[in-house]
Amino acid sequence: MSNTSENPKPSSSSAKMTLKTSDNELFEVEEAVAMKFCTVKQYFEDEKDSDVAARGSTTVIPLPNVHSAVLATLISYGKKLPQSNAVADNHEEEETKKKERKKYEQGLLKNLMPGELLDLISAANYLDFKEGLEFFNQALADHIQNKSVEYVRKFFGIKNDYEPHEEEKYREEYAWAFEGVDED
């Protein structure tokens, strides 16, 4: 079965790819999902130019910067995204799918520790996974939105490089912005 001359149709083929994480775990992923990771897509397309893909053997794509648990979550999220090749749904089907996705997203976020968000964002950035990056960036923004300055510093591992009087000045300037903030 040769894919070199035709455009692969992800919906009909069950082409899978194997991704190898930093802790040496192997993940078999459907091509349609893996292609959402643009870094993987690029690697795959580069490989296609050589003879490897033409032979139809499964290539193992190494992802030395991504841990297995993180990849698992990203793949799971990628699977839930509307597939680019999907047949256009009517309005009702679209609405149902949207609701399902929302529910899945809420469930996903509930089970995540805030620190894991940083790992997910880092990995999504490395993989160039746009939808994942957008989703987790928003999740992180939502998480820190009402947090104190001290919390944010600790969370991101940022050192305070202000003199006390400088910081005091900035705090006074917008005192109202410091009201109603979550307790640390």
Binding site: A141, G157, Y170, E173
Partner: protein
């Protein structure tokens, strides 16, 4: 750090190794935060301070943060002429509400006052509100107000050498090429509208006014112009617009009434005329914006007595006469006032009071409704808004953060 895969394979421990997110990711996250958080997070460290106060970030944040499904509006009671005439006290309270339902979220006060005691909301741009004294002869003070960061600024005085200004008109828009906000002011020193007004432009980045040329040749037969005061100055495609009505003298005793749209390119600071679509019997009255396109509201007589026809036209392709497209025709009662379009295209109108007999008593009933012009569907606003409203789109915007003469409250 070792991983206990057997116990909970999907959870990982937050590793304390180097996990600095690249700058562009941090900026993307910051762009999704409301201004209150951003003002606070300036204190996190000096780098974050420079991110948050950077003008490019401010314009990115404006687009990114305010781009969600639900929008917000600020509304307040509009100053009416009779109010000022009878020295009625005027509320300084503004209400923040949901765009689609006008359900109230919170209230706050206008943080500055005018000499006459009556404010006039002239318009807004990117969430910054523009106010003048309702009685323009009382004071020349004009204010820019950003309610999302609680800052306002009184603009410096005019650069024109004017002895007696009898009337002014304004426009307020955003120059996206230079990331600058600009105010246009027309001033007339005579009661008649001839000669043409003097024009000056204020730029926030330079914090100063400068004179500009109108550059339009008024038509020779025109005996009077008036700037239509009903609508504000729609800001569309980088241009500000005003509706001008001209009365031209034809041959003999004929007088011809012609509407014209004056447009101002905020970036190049040049004026132009735009064509008005022709529709027999209906008079162009109100210029506004509908879903970021220029819109024109025309009125004419309806089939029934005491009914009006109102047609709404939209310029689909900016500047192209042929692209004026009639969106809909609304039959409305003669006692209906238009307030304006929300950002998402719902039209707010107010049906003025009619005497209604309830329980053998006469009552005045007002109602404000939101109309969807595409679906021609009307929805009454639940909270009793018994008065004329000024409405502006609310946006979270860090503009006016710094600068001369900016006051915090």
């Amino acid at each position: 750090m070792s991983q206990r895969k057997e116990a909970q394979p999907t959870k990982i421990l937050r590793r304390r190794t180097k996990h600095d997110l690249p700058e562009e990711i941090v900026l993307e996250i910051l762009a999704r935060l409301p201004v209150k958080s951003l003002l606070r997070f300036r204190c996190v460290c000096k780098t974050w301070y420079s991110y948050i106060t950077n003008p490019n970030f401010i314009s990115t944040h404006l687009l990114c943060y305010n781009n969600h499904d639900g929008g917000y509006v600020i509304h307040m009671p509009r100053t009416a002429v009779h109010m000022a005439y009878f020295h009625r006290p005027h509320s300084q309270i503004c209400t923040l509400a949901f765009d689609r339902t006008f359900e109230t979220i919170s209230e706050f006060r206008i943080p500055f006052t005018f000499q006459s005691g009556y404010h006039g909301l002239v318009g807004s741009c990117n969430g910054i509100l523009f106010f003048t004294d309702f009685i323009k002869s009382k004071s020349k003070n004009v204010y820019l107000w950003n309610p999302s960061i609680r800052k306002f600024k009184r603009l410096p005085n005019t650069c024109l050498n004017q002895t007696q200004v009898l009337n002014v008109a304004h426009g307020f828009g955003y120059d996206s090429l230079n990331n600058d906000y600009k105010v246009v002011r027309f001033s007339w020193t005579r009661t008649k509208w001839m000669p043409p007004p003097e024009v000056e432009v204020y730029s926030l980045s330079s914090d100063s006014w400068k004179r500009v040329e109108l550059g339009i040749s008024w038509r020779p037969n025109v005996i009077s112009y008036s700037f239509n005061g009903i609508s504000a100055f729609p800001f569309v495609s980088g241009h500000l617009h005003w509706m001008i009505e001209m009365i031209e003298e034809g041959g003999g005793q004929e007088r011809r009434y012609t509407p014209m749209i004056l447009s101002f390119d905020v970036n190049s600071e040049k004026f132009k005329e735009l064509p008005v679509p022709d529709e027999g019997g209906l008079i162009a009255k109100c210029l506004t914006s509908y879903k970021e396109k220029l819109a024109l509201i025309k009125f004419g007589h309806g089939a029934q007595p005491l009914s009006k026809l109102c047609s709404i036209w939209v310029m689909r392709e900016y500047g192209v006469l042929d692209s004026w497209n009639k969106l809909c025709v609304l039959p409305i009662e003669i006692s209906t006032d238009f307030i304006g379009f929300t950002k998402y295209g719902l039209l707010l109108v107010r049906h003025r009071s009619r005497l209604v007999s309830t329980n053998s008593e006469l009552e005045r009933k007002h109602k404000s409704v939101l109309i969807d012009p595409e679906a021609l569907h009307e929805k009454e606003i639940s909270n009793q808004i018994d008065y004329h409203l000024d409405v502006a789109t609310y946006m979270e915007n860090l503009a006016l953060l710094d600068g001369a003469n900016v006051v915090s409250y």
